[in-house]
């Protein structure tokens, strides 16, 4: 007998909702057969069966939301991977993640026979890994109060991180909602107000934004960019581009291309802050904020620095369309290293975005507005005359995590993006 548990489907995901069972009790299930559809905050994914056998019991009904690691179903293994038979009786059912087939390692890992740690505190003390022990001490969390998602119910590093995150979520962090199930007191509400039903996405956004504001030392800058030449370069080619490529040649594609170039030169901006440590990331994976009904998704274009402007136009159009249509794959919302938010599409002239954790910076591209601009004389020292011109101007706004970098570097990076954009001309290659 093997147990399928709610898998961890993202870096900061703590729970998931069963949307639909694709198999029914007593159905035969082959290895990797789609078994259940799960909604986790931002994507719907089909979970392939990690076991072969007969689906014997469904433990979480459709529509229910449960924490990571909760058993979802049991599969009676006829064709379980070799060696997966449990020793008789004394060992508790393993709780592998959905992704983990249950065949044993080549060299057996130390696994102790112990009750799942979700049970009483007084029971045998569960084994703690060094990182779990350290996090428990640092954050004053008793691991025995958590439900472990590891083998034999072991509390894993991910479980600890989820508990730390969950505990610090509400403004008053006295109580720890991750470990106590005390019901919240009902709030008095006038009858005429509409209570907005909470969606997984709304809650995920709320958690994420407050966590980012709380942990990252947000600092902000804005830089004016002259996009007159970009506007001309784009309008000269956009019709031919749409005809040949079938998608629009957007300003965003040009800007994303410039950002990827600049990130190559400023790796500190292409970084993540995780588990108390800063990592400069090798790949440049650009996230793009996409608005969806009552929410926001940040799909990722991986290795954007290897793409041409045309590639980026296609890739952004593709993920944006699928973000709105609900067809994103899991890897397409993971692994971002820097985020671009095209707030200018809604007409804003300045925005102060919140950093998409665990990244260290986010850039907004603001509305392109024609303005009178003073063009300094090129021979100003010799007494030349300054001129007034009508130029297409755009603001670039950068929020950055002051823990990871300082203002001078942030300004140099944004200045680099500005320079690259301003150098775009009629001959800039787009393919």
């Amino acid at each position: 007998m093997a147990t399928l548990t709610m898998p961890q489907l993202g870096e900061s995901v703590t729970e998931g909702t069963v949307i639909r069972w694709l198999k029914q009790p007593n159905d035969q299930v082959a290895l990797d057969d789609p078994l259940v559809e799960i909604d986790t905050e931002k994507v719907n994914v089909e979970i392939p069966s990690p076991f072969a056998g007969t689906l014997s019991r469904i433990m979480v009904e459709e529509g229910q939301t449960v924490p990571i690691g909760t058993p979802l179903a049991e599969i009676q293994g006829t064709g379980e991977p070799a060696g997966a038979e449990q020793p008789s009786g004394d060992r508790p059912a393993q709780a592998p993640t959905a992704a983990a087939a249950s065949a044993p390692p080549q060299e057996p890992m130390p696994q102790t026979a112990q009750p799942p740690t979700g049970s009483a505190r007084g029971a045998a003390t569960p084994k703690l890994s060094p990182v779990v022990a350290r996090l428990a001490a640092q954050h004053d969390i008793d691991p025995a109060t958590l439900r472990g998602s590891g083998a034999g119910g072991r509390v894993t590093k991910k479980d600890m991180l989820a508990a730390i995150e969950a505990r610090s979520a509400p403004p008053s962090s006295e109580a720890s909602p991750a470990v106590t199930d005390a019901p919240r007191p009902p709030t008095e509400r006038p009858a005429e107000d509409r209570a907005v039903p909470e969606t997984p996405m709304r809650r995920a956004i709320a958690d994420h934004m407050t966590r980012s504001r709380r942990t990252a030392a947000h600092a902000w800058l804005v830089m004016e960019t002259d996009v007159t030449a970009l506007v001309a370069a784009r309008s000269a080619r956009k019709d031919a581009f749409r005809q040949s490529e079938g998608v629009a040649l957007t300003y965003l594609a040009f800007i994303a291309h410039a950002v990827a170039r600049a990130l190559q030169q400023f790796p500190r901006l292409n970084a993540t802050w995780q588990d108390g440590q800063l990592f400069e990331r090798r790949d440049i994976n650009l996230g793009f904020a996409v608005d969806v009904p009552d929410g926001l998704v940040v799909p990722v274009v991986h290795q954007a620095d290897r793409m041409s402007i045309a590639d980026l136009a296609r890739a952004i159009a593709d993920i944006a369309a699928r973000a709105r249509g609900g067809g994103l794959k899991l890897h397409e919302i993971r692994g971002g290293t820097f985020t671009i938010d095209n707030t200018g599409a809604f007409g804003t002239a300045l925005s102060a975005p919140i950093i998409h954790q665990p990244q260290v910076a986010i850039l907004t591209t603001e509305a392109i507005i024609k303005r009178p601009v003073v063009i300094p004389s090129t021979d100003g020292a010799a007494g030349g005359t300054d001129a007034l011109a009508i130029r297409a101007m755009m603001n670039l706004c950068l929020s950055f995590d002051h823990r990871a970098l300082d203002g001078a570097l942030a300004a140099r990076f944004t200045g680099r993006v500005k320079k690259i954009i301003e150098a775009i001309g009629p001959d800039t290659p787009i393919h």
């Binding site: 992704a99 390692p105 890992m109 060094p130 990182v131 083998a151």
Partner: protein, 326 residues
Amino acid sequence: MTQTSIAEAIQSAHREIMRDDERVILLGEDVEAGGVFRITNGLLDEFGPHRVFDTPLSEAGFTGAAIGAAIGGMRPIVEIQFVDFILPALNQLISEAAKMRYRSLGTWTVPLVVRAPYGGGVHGGLYHSQSMEALFAHVPGLKVVMPATPTDAQALLHSAVQDPDPVIFLEHKRSYRLIREEIPEPLPSVAIGQAALRRDGQDIAIIATGLALHHSLAAAQQLQAESIDCLVLDLRTVLPLDKPAILNAARHTGKVLIVHEDHLTGGIGGEVAAIIAAEAFEHLDAPIQRLAGPDVPAMGYHPALEQAFLPNPDTIAQAARSLAAY
């Protein structure tokens, strides 16, 4: 876009190095005719018999001669036909080459490169399949590199020849023509002692060398579909080890799987595991795991025995799955 093999990359490196530096000579068994793996093909024609020459079947003799030449100001490259044949030269390498700088208070150094094909998977049987990096990694005074990609093979041979001290340069023979890539121009410089992050990931760090690196990358690809996100670190040099890179990988993921083809016991994986246990203990979320060649005397000739010996993407993925579930 030209896809260059590891064999071609190493041959190009020889040409570049020998054109640049007249002190570089190449000696070994059958190198005049191009060698068993055709690495030295054509070098005799280009550089002549005074710089490219065959030796007798006497590894101790010609390695010793090369050490003497190195002390005397030459920059010899010795090709050992198979690393399995290097054992007669160990006394020269361990007792002379590795110790010369120390013993002469830095007066003399041995800028020698010993190239040797290692590893199985080509039906080489008992005497043409061994991995011996751990043997040399135990000897202070030597450097031991094991490039896994064409670019690294080409760049690291440059670094090895420029190094003032003896470098053992190990080439996985199955990878010679199997692994190809476009080599960037200009050729990047790769310093000895630097690992390379080949893939970033959150859940498990797979640390590997040589051909096992490519198997590990294939395993990581498989596991991505199962939402197991693997980081893959290519050690590239096993002496000295790149401790910061190893510790970063361990701290980032908390779970480490070390993969090499050499025997498990006394293999380089034990050293990597010890470094992590000593300096990243409080970041570990699972026991460090090793997947390596078994502790049997040799890789058998029969294909079934050979396959049973070698790590492959499936065995690596399986070990990683178990680690993920821990």
